[in-house]
Amino acid sequence: MPTTTGGFAGKILRVDLSTGKIGLDDTVERYRDVLGGTGIGYRVMWEEVPAGTAPFDAANKLVFATGVLAGTSVPCSGRTAITTLFPSCWPKALTASGHMGGRFASKLKYAGYDGIIIEGKADKPVWLFIRDGRVEIRDAGHLWGTGIRRTTLEISREMGADCVVAAIGQAGENRVPLSLIVNSVSHSAGGVGAVMGAKNLKAIGIQGSGSVRIAGDKVEWERLIKFHLSILGGNNQHVVPAFPHPHSEYYHPNSRWVGAPGKRWGGSDSPVEINGGLLDPNRIAFRTNSAAFFLGDQAWKHTVRGNGCSGCPIRCHTILKVPAVAAKYGIRDTAQNTCVGLLFGWAFFKSLQGNRRTPAALEACMVGMNLADDLGIWSNYHQLQRDLIKLYSDGTLKSKIGSQEYASYSWDKYESADPQFLFEIIPRIAMAQGELGRALGLGTGHLLEQWSIPEEEWTRDLSSGYWKMGHARHHANDVDGQCGVIINTQYNRDAQCHSHTNFVQNGLPLEVQKKLAAEIWGSPDAVDGVGNYTPMNIHKARRARWSLIRKELHDTLGLCNWMGPWVASPIKERGYSGDDSLESRLCSTATGQQIGREELDLVGERIFTLHRALTVRDMGEVDMRTRHDLIPPYVFQDPKGAEPFTRGTIRMDPRDMAKAMDLFYEILGWDQATGAPTAETYARLGLQSVARGLAKKKLLPGVRG
């Protein structure tokens, strides 16, 4: 592949904060076999960060990388992966990645870079100035201690309005493990802010005046983009609307496609009423309103518009304007976010959990967004909030912190879901103040250890939402049976995989999903209805493998795995199928280098396996099956005692899950006994040097010392 290939910007920026040295890698020459994103991140961690490195060591690296489709006109192509050792990973920090949208990826590409590798540690606070080929490490003394909004504003004033700023808040500065890096107001990557803070790097500001070259046929490119737009649904690729509509055979009340004709963005200076055809590609941005999905109809009158990533028509970051909160709480009247970011404040209050559609829930969300996205706190997929609720409810919290500190919180406000409580708790987490603030910011695993609470108290409690290693369950058997469980065993943070859940929750009737499943994974039995699970089969294992590989590919190409893959569509004439080869067709046309679906999936498998190798190496443990791929005991329980595989339970069967792991390991070419990739598998994926490195440490299956 020549270095003039399309899609790539061509260079990786390497910044050593210890020495001030700034260098460049050739992207294609050095990283062609892992393409970009997490592929580059894992490669750097494997080759350059030795086992035993701690997250806040200068030797740890922070790898910002996007992919060949970022900065192009491909829908949903605004993603940047940030790979590093995760300080919230317990009991030992391991490699994982945070992901952010916004405009960072496209600006980085336009400036001429596919990624930035941050090395070393500055001896004082700095920020990184990037204007095309001009790169400078600048003093950030005036920014340190300020929030993300102030930092963004100051840097924007210095650089110009057309820059993008990715910054940490006080949480990152204070090395709070649950901290964010945020760009473009609300687009955040979780779990990585403290590593940036430990390097004394406050922010990165980027201006780029270049473009991304499409090397393939331009007509084909244009056709592909239009096709991609035509098969898009609403947020999370929900392909049917939430409401009956003349142009749709199906609807699903829980679809995130909530933009019904006649709904109104009432918070806009010039309110907009949703109109036009349901499937009109010029109306896609009307489909999603995350605030209305989560908070109900009350959100419409406060909606200014949808915001989102460059290249994405979905606009899932809903901008809300609620003038009342400015006077009541002394915060900005405007905020924007999606999903867990939108619900950050709401999730603290147990009493609001059944009351999403209330003004109190809306106010809690506004306060939460204003605080968290400025201080830079990561919710750990709401595990932070669930931990507080559990610790408070069972009395543990009161027994663990001093009475003086306990009395400093207004627990009456907490119980009554008064958003004023958020002003007491959130800043203290960001500043690591007090026993409670410090403990909550550590992440669940370290918190439990610090307070001498057995992890089993969380893993045996379904309501804890906890999975393993300090992190949360993220779309497991609650939505997708064995497939979801397998996926949740694989990462060193919450799984963040949406390939599987975007399919099973796409809103199509199960019968249609099964038809599509037969086409994609070889059998309708690859998919079950939620809570109507059937015993494990090879087709489900194939779907789990496919889901993980596509997640890694998306994280590598700059695509959004919260939206993709696009194997289902709203198009009746297509039998509701999407296109399983879309990623490879886009990649081929962008780079000008033909790569088929199976060949690209092999790249995804290589990247996923490299992540596995890193985990094996850094844990110093080949037995992934019993030491890493853990399943919390609550997965095998049912609150009402229902048996597995009966209708109305998500309870899994231990023997069936053992079979599920067997099948999953087998189709990946991993050793069934240990769940570790074999030497042959590493070789098949072009990772011979990785296998040699692991063999030297006796970390290949079958060669234990």
């Binding site: 749709s248 019904a260 339970t649």
Partner: protein, 188 residues
């Protein structure tokens, strides 16, 4: 009737069905007959050629984008599924009867999609029932053996979901209602 005249009538009928669909309306034979008359075509029958029913059958056979279904009143209704889906057409057909509107939509969701539906759904477009109409319909159904399969379940958060016992067991429906009410929001 010459074959050419027959074709013209079929084209007029097809056009009328498509136009109605695009405007979000269903059409029955009365409206279609009137359309032919407006265009100067009476509706012959007997020895003069095919009657309206036959013309409509020919129209549907010649136009794959058009379809017909029996209304709850027994009348045959015509629509163009590309612009007026079968599901939406069924809702429009039953709008004059809140009881049927709710019951049949609950049954269809339970049968096709294996899901209970939130009661709130019926207050939204295109159902547009008032709270009073919904309550009256539920009360009427509760006393009628014809609707004894339409059951309700209350979630922990206090939301009411409806389902049909013909297609969903009460325990499974309760599980699905709880999942629908909390799952996507507690695990977004």
């Amino acid at each position: 009737m010459k074959e050419q005249e027959c074709d013209v009538r079929c084209r007029i009928l097809a056009e009328a069905i498509r136009e109605a669909g695009a405007a979000g309306r269903l059409v029955g034979k009365g409206t279609l007959s009137a359309r032919l008359e407006e265009r100067g075509f009476g509706v012959p029958g007997g020895r003069d050629g095919p009657d309206l029913e036959a013309l409509l059958a020919m129209t549907l056979a010649a136009n794959e984008d058009l379809a017909a279904f029996p209304s709850h009143t027994g009348e045959t209704l015509y629509h163009c599924p590309a612009v007026l889906s079968r599901t939406y057409a069924s809702i429009l057909d039953r709008k004059s009867s809140p009881i049927l509107l709710i019951a049949e939509e609950v049954r269809r969701n339970s049968a096709e999609s294996l899901r209970p539906v939130p009661l709130d759904l019926f207050g939204e477009a295109p159902f547009d029932l008032s709270p009073q109409e919904i309550q009256a319909a539920l009360q009427s159904m509760a006393g009628s053996s014809e609707f004894e399969d339409v059951a309700s379940v209350l979630t922990d958060a206090g939301a009411v979901y409806l389902f049909s016992t013909r297609y969903l067991e009460p325990g499974y429906a309760a599980f699905l209602a709880e999942e629908a009410e909390t799952g996507p929001f507690m695990n977004p």
